[in-house]
């Protein structure tokens, strides 16, 4: 992406709270206009700090943050024109819903008539028009959430930031709100920077996801790529379920390498992020890419395994298998009549293709 068109750009940004350890280490990130980018990572990974720096509530220790062409390091938060949805919504309890929405317009000196039409429009957008005169305390969690979104959008900000906005909602409501936010984004095309630690939330809504760990972006990619082609062991492990097999690279032929596992078995894998022959590597293999009753010749890797445990999960059956010297190898079997039910204790051949088995950093 051409840096000059970016809506938001982090350039060499570092952040330290105590002058000794860096919470954010050399962040470089460009976000295109209209893009929905999610910062995903475990707590303490630096994602919220990045968001707060963008909002202006924390200052970058080093580096520059740009909105469009303008560096905003010296712009106070209230002049950045960034909408923000807070973790606990931060709706002003002493103002009605309509007053909350009118507030950003009022501080911008927009006249009353104009304010009213825009507040109504925003309320319509989140289907809360009948609640205009209620106090936030009288609304349900989901309604408060929608008011918070409407308030962050009502003044047509350049960018909207969302800091774990769905964290306080129950599962069902959370999923519904994910779609609502996604649809609002698609409809009005505003740039969104979203922070969460919930991977399914990130996968559902984002154009691109930045996976954070230890103050560094581990991978920045669209959801499918992130899931299908994780570039390192952390991402593979953090996004979705994942079998990890530790081994040593024995040979390499273009994209394909041979990896020897602890019990001596050799696995043909896709060389993604490995050192030379002899270096340690972690193989990452999605449980749903493993086939049962595999036959050598039809598939790249075939190993005998013993079924240890079956867990019925409705749409699929989670199967724990002893295989290649590991007893926590997980296989997901779709719940369809095409698959014969396995029995615990059965010895079965499992197989997978080299392309699904990614050799990553050890």
């Amino acid at each position: 992406m051409d840096a000059t068109q970016a809506a938001v750009r982090f350039e060499g940004v570092q952040k330290s709270y105590d002058g000794e350890t860096l919470v954010v280490k050399d962040l470089n990130l460009s976000i295109a206009k209209g893009e929905f980018v999610t910062m995903l990572g475990p707590s303490g990974s630096g994602k919220t700090t990045c968001l707060m720096m963008l909002a202006g509530f924390e200052t970058a220790t080093r580096g520059e943050i740009y909105i469009g062409q303008r560096s905003i390091n010296r712009v106070p938060p209230h002049k950045r024109n960034i909408g923000m949805v807070f973790q606990n919504y931060a709706l002003f309890p002493h103002m009605s819903v309509a007053e909350n929405l009118a507030y950003p317009l009022k501080v911008r000196g927009i006249d009353k008539a104009e304010r009213e039409t825009r507040v109504l429009r925003a309320l319509d957008m989140v289907q809360l028009a009948p609640f205009a005169n209620r106090r936030p305390g009288m609304l349900s969690g989901g309604q408060q959430q929608r008011v918070a979104v409407a308030r962050a959008l009502v003044f047509d900000p350049d960018i909207v930031l969302m800091d774990e906005p769905l964290g306080a909602l129950d599962k069902q409501l959370r999923e519904q709100m994910q779609y609502e936010i996604k649809h609002i984004h698609e409809r009005i095309g505003v740039t969104v920077v979203y922070v969460t630690h919930d991977q399914s939330e990130a996968l559902t809504m984002s154009n691109r996801i930045a996976v954070f760990n230890d103050g560094v972006i581990q991978q920045l990619a669209p959801p499918t790529e992130l899931y299908e082609r994780p570039s390192n062991a952390f991402v593979a492990h953090f996004i979705g379920e994942n079998n990890r097999l530790d081994g040593i690279v024995r040979s390499r032929d273009g994209d394909i390498c041979q990896v020897e596992l602890g019990d001596g078995s050799m696995v043909r894998s896709l060389a993604v992020n490995i050192g030379g022959v002899g270096s340690r590597t972690t193989l990452s293999l999605r449980p749903e890419r493993v086939t049962v009753h595999a036959k050598a010749g039809e598939i790249d890797n075939v190993f005998a395994g013993k079924v240890e445990e079956l867990i019925y999960l409705g749409d699929h059956i989670r199967t724990r298998v002893s295989l290649c010297g590991q007893d926590d190898f997980i296989v997901k079997l779709p719940n369809s009549d095409r698959h014969a039910m396995l029995e615990p204790g059965a010895n079965v051949h499992f197989g997978w293709n080299a392309g699904d088995c990614r050799a990553l950093d050890g």
Partner: protein
């Protein structure tokens, strides 16, 4: 009793009954003084006990004569005026200084927070007799004894701890992300302070102010030490009334003061409810 589960024994029942009776007696102890003063203030006779007429609810046993006495007495009216003037000014000073200090104290960056807090709350802990003695020495040196400003300053000092306590308590429940939200919505810091912070802490400030007012309105030791004849307050007047020659007019004044405290209590309760509603607690 009907709500007790079926497995309770007779002993349990007696125990529960006894406990309730005990609580009732304690509440009676708490409220009895107030309950006695109010009817006796309508006594037609200059006695401090219920006359037979009163006990038979004979209208002749009751009268408003002590109220007429109080309201017709220049001394009492003056005392009420003085108490209000001193109370209002002391409250203004205490509330202003206390609120500003509480804003600092509730900030996590406040250095020496514990020590400063201990110092600022000490006027509430140090016996008034000691504070009043000290103030007497100091105020006579600087020409403030037997003046209104002297008593006002003394009462303001005694009232500030209550303001500090209530406002810091309110601020500790204050969600700081609201200030960030306001900034993110484009409000400069001053706007944020006046439109978001002030309305939300107002109930705390007002109840702190009420505490400060009551402290001043009820204070007599500092007044005894610092006031001259022209600064007599209601408590000071009652003090000499009780000490010298107790007259039922004191009961009439007492009833008026009880009425005042009921009003204050009701105001506080309304504020508390408003505060809870604002925070979405109900």
């Amino acid at each position: 009793m009907a709500k007790l589960p079926p497995y309770v024994t007779l002993g349990d029942r007696l125990w529960t009954l006894g406990y309730k009776l005990l609580c009732g007696l304690i509440y009676l102890f708490l409220i009895a003084p107030i309950l006695v003063v109010i009817p006796l203030s309508f006594n037609a006779e200059p006695y401090f006990t219920f006359t037979p007429e009163m006990l038979h609810f004979d209208p002749a046993g009751y009268s408003l004569r002590w109220y007429r006495d109080v309201l017709g007495s220049e001394d009492w009216l003056n005392a009420f005026r003085n108490s209000f003037v001193i109370g209002v000014f002391a409250t203004l000073i205490a509330t202003l200084l206390g609120t500003v200090a509480a804003l600092g104290l509730s900030n996590s960056r406040m250095p020496y927070r514990a020590s400063v807090m201990a110092l600022l709350l000490s006027p509430m802990i140090v016996p008034v007799i000691i504070s009043a003695a000290g103030m007497y020495f100091f105020f006579s040196n600087v020409g403030l004894s037997q003046t209104f400003p002297g008593i006002i300053l003394a009462h303001a000092a005694l009232g500030t701890p209550f303001v500090v306590i209530t406002v810091t308590a309110t601020l500790s429940g204050f969600d700081r992300s609201l200030m960030r939200a306001s900034a993110s919505l484009g409000a400069p810091p001053a706007t944020t302070f006046f439109q978001v912070v002030v309305p939300l802490i107002a109930p705390g400030v007002i109840s702190g102010a009420l505490f400060a007012f009551v402290t001043s309105f009820d204070e007599v030791v500092a007044v005894l030490f610092l006031s001259g004849a022209s600064q007599r307050t209601v408590p000071r007047q009652m003090w000499s009334g009780i000490r010298e020659q107790i007259s039922p007019s004191i009961l009439a004044v007492a009833t008026l003061l009880i009425l005042l405290s009921v009003l204050l209590l009701a105001t506080l309760e309304l504020l508390r409810r408003r505060n809870e509603r604002l925070r979405g607690l109900r």
